[in-house]
Symmetry: C2
DNA sequence: ATTTTGAACTTGTATATACATGTTACGTTT
DNA sequence: AAACGTAACATGTATATACAAGTTCAAAAT
């Protein structure tokens, strides 16, 4: 079965993005959408709640759904998106350099983070992201071999996430991220075009699969002037 | 009517935080919760979806709800929380210095951001946040007078959000945030204890009310070594 | 002219039912 | 011993109904 509420959600997203419902205008009411899509009100409400969660609309009781004016394109966006997906969406002129690709016993820190035995092996990838000819980002990825048994230089040069989702059939669920600002390491200075900047922005993520198993740890080190993070947040109900 | 699904959600949050359901354990099934709370399954599912959205659990089809191990305490946390709320939660030894408090005609940039007429007036507040004796953060707030007609030095020294929600009865809905790293301005160097750091982390937020009206713009400038942002993100469905 | 009332709309909450689909464990078959 | 099948149970989707509660606007009352 294809999920009705998801197709309706995607349809409405497309309409909002193509300005059928411009910012500050009202979406049709739930009842109108119900009869338009030949479905039940609850199904429409599921689709609208998805729109609301993702920052497309604001539901106002008694009134309706206001379309929000959210420019979702920035770099890097919040959420879980691979560099390749972002680069495509933003049409960046980008190149990826696979600096190292190793299959090693996990050192203590990584083993602890990935919650595995230090004798277990881990795929370790270091990649440099070049944007318009400048080396801007250093990505260090660590994969639990239990879920990602094999990586190749070719896969790393393309998109690891694409490989994980399409070839390995794993479903990525959620991530816990941390963003901090640190001093560049020797490696940062060596591999990136830091141009005298005395800080790098470091994004550390633990990425989990659909079934809540931890499969990846990532450290993404950015030149500060090229870093931008955009977030849509709702006030938590009390 | 008090909302059942919200009370159940809050009850479960409390239980998770007090380790009744420790990380990696399973919550009772939806049917068990249904009979325990004497309600319908849909109501339980609403509560569980809230837990899932806020990173407390991961639902796994066919299995149940896994409790996640997410340390939600960091500074500053994602979401919309006032400095005062954060400081209390984290038990920071903190002091707020109200540097300026003005009621002025909006300059062009601010008027544009707040989408008001340049002849309209705006409340402008600059506050310095001192943590353990060090001046770490410079907060610059701009309020649309239509929603916030009056501010006092006392209110600014306490919590503006508390005033807005409890005294003015406004309901904060959502925010659009941007995080970037910039060079310190003259004002930053003057007002903050920058200790030679050559960057500041700048968080710019547009904050909207429940009915999607824009009422505040904020610029929060942080010393980079004291900045930390934590985010819980779900992979967007395709 | 101003205020009040109420009908007709909107979204929010709660419940019930049905079936689809993924997981697990155990007994049966091979 | 291994493979298979199936029942029992888990969550996911779709629908229907009822009522609560906020918004709007026009008619009626003051």
């Amino acid at each position: 079965m294809q999920k009705k509420y998801l197709t309706i959600y995607e349809d409405l997203v497309k309409q909002i993005q193509s300005n059928v419902w411009p910012p500050s205008s009202m979406l049709p009411s739930e009842n109108e959408l119900t009869s338009h899509y030949h479905t039940s009100r609850e199904t429409i409400r599921k689709a609208l709640n998805l729109l609301s969660q993702n920052g497309y609309i604001q539901k106002v009781r008694g009134k309706g759904s206001v379309v929000l004016d959210i420019h979702k394109f920035s770099f890097p966006v919040s959420g879980i998106e691979s560099y390749t997906e972002l680069a495509e969406k933003l049409q960046l002129e980008t190149r990826t350099i696979v600096h190292t690709l190793d299959y090693l016993e996990a050192d203590n820190d990584i083993a602890k983070i990935l919650r595995i035995d230090p004798s277990d092996s881990v795929w370790t990838v270091e990649r440099i992201r070049e944007i318009s000819g400048e080396k801007i980002i250093l990505d260090k990825d660590y994969f639990n071999e239990m879920y990602v048994p094999l990586l190749s230089e070719e896969i790393c040069g393309q998109s690891i996430y694409e490989h994980i989702e399409n070839n390995l059939g794993l479903v990525i669920g959620f991530a816990q991220k941390e963003i901090v600002v640190e001093e560049p390491t020797e490696e940062d200075r060596e591999l990136l075009d830091l141009e005298g900047f005395s800080n790098v922005v470091v994004i550390r993520s633990q990425v989990y699969l659909d079934d809540a198993s931890l499969f990846q740890f990532t450290e993404s080190r950015h030149r500060p002037d090229k870093f931008r993070f955009v977030d849509f947040a709702r006030r938590v109900k009390k």
